[in-house]
Symmetry: C2
Subunit: 181 residues, 2 copies
C-alpha cells in the first residue's frame, strides 16, 4: 500500500496514537488503513464413500489437487462461502454440514475454514478454475499431488477419523516450510 | 474506496473479466482491490466458576460489557489473537483452550471466533479500551448490558452447556436487527 484509498495522497507506515502496531496512515486525511487476515472457506464434499477433489487450473499450484475452497466474500456466511466455492470450482451442489477443520497460516495471513458437506447429485464438472473434478476413494487420493498442506492435513485427519468411527473438529497451524538446502 | 492504494489513481467499481462480483479496479494500473470479511477473535476466560468481562471504554457500545475480543491481526493465529486481545483489554494472561463458538455476521462482514480459556492469575485490570474489568458469577452476568448479540448468544450457550455438563462447539449467524417501528 502506497496511496490512501480514501483521498489518493501518499501513506506512511507508522504506529498511530494508542495503537501497538505500524499501520498505513494517510499523510493528508489521516485515515488509518488496517490490514487483516483473510478466510479461505471450503468443504470436503462426500458422495457415499468418495470425496470430491478439484485439479487446479490456476496458480498457485496449477495442476495439483485440492478440496473446493476459496476466499470468503463480504456479505456471506462461512457455510455460504464454502457452498459457493464448490459451485464455482466444481459446478457441484452441496449441503454444508458440521465445521471440520480450522487451520491458521500466519505467515501468509490466512485462516482456512473447512466443513464436511454432502454432495447432492453427480452433475458436477470442472469450473473455470479447475482442469478436472472427480470423486476419489481413499485408495485413490493423490497424496503426492495435493496442492496445499491444509488439504493434506485435513484429508489425513478425515480418513483417520472415519476409521475411528467419529469425525472430530481439528484446529491447527501451518508453519512456513523450511528453506530447502 | 475511491483511489488505488498501489498508484493513487481513481478506481471504478466493476466486475473484472472471469469474476462474478463487482470489485474496485484501478483505472490506471488495473490492480483489483478485493475486500473480504474480517475475523474478531476472543475468549471466555474462566477462573473457577467465574468469567472475565470487560466494560467497553470505546464505541461502539461504550459502557456495555463484552468478553475480551477484537480484530485478528496479520501474522498471528486465531488463538494468539484471542490471547493478545485479552492482554490488551484486560491486562490478563490466559491459556487458550478449545474453540467454543463461531458466529457469522454477514451484514457487517465479520466472523467471530471465540475460545474457552483459563485465566492464569488474578492480576488483571482495565486496559485502555476498557472502563472496568471483573469476574462474574453466572448470577451476576449483566444480561441487559451486554455489548453484542454474539456475546449474549455465546454466554447463553456457555451456561446451558455448563449445566448440561458438556461444552459443545456452537456455530451460528447473527442477522441484522429488524428496524424498530
Amino acid at each position: 500500500m502506497k496511496f490512501c484509498s480514501n483521498c489518493g495522497a501518499p501513506v506512511t507506515l507508522k504506529i498511530p496514537p494508542g495503537d501497538t502496531l505500524p499501520r498505513h496512515v494517510c499523510d493528508s486525511c489521516s485515515t488509518i488503513h488496517y490490514q487483516n487476515p483473510k478466510m479461505i472457506v471450503g468443504c470436503i464434499a462426500e458422495w457415499e464413500h468418495r470425496i470430491l477433489l478439484c485439479k487446479r487450473a490456476i496458480e498457485p499450484r496449477h495442476g495439483l489437487w485440492t478440496v473446493p475452497a476459496g476466499f470468503m466474500e463480504n456479505g456471506e456466511t462461512t457455510a455460504q462461502g464454502a457452498a459457493r466455492e464448490t459451485l464455482e470450482e466444481a459446478n457441484a451442489r452441496v449441503e454444508i454440514g458440521p465445521l471440520y477443520a480450522m487451520y491458521n497460516i500466519p505467515h501468509i495471513n490466512q485462516v482456512y475454514i473447512l466443513f464436511r458437506a454432502r454432495l447432492l447429485d453427480l452433475e458436477f464438472s470442472a469450473g473455470t478454475e479447475s482442469l478436472e473434478v472427480r470423486l476419489f476413494d481413499e485408495s485413490e487420493v493423490p497424496w503426492d499431488a495435493l496442492a496445499f498442506a491444509t488439504v493434506r492435513n485435513t484429508l489425513t485427519h478425515y480418513y483417520a477419523d472415519r476409521k475411528a468411527g467419529e469425525y472430530r473438529f481439528h484446529l491447527g497451524t501451518i508453519e512456513r516450510a523450511p528453506a530447502r538446502s
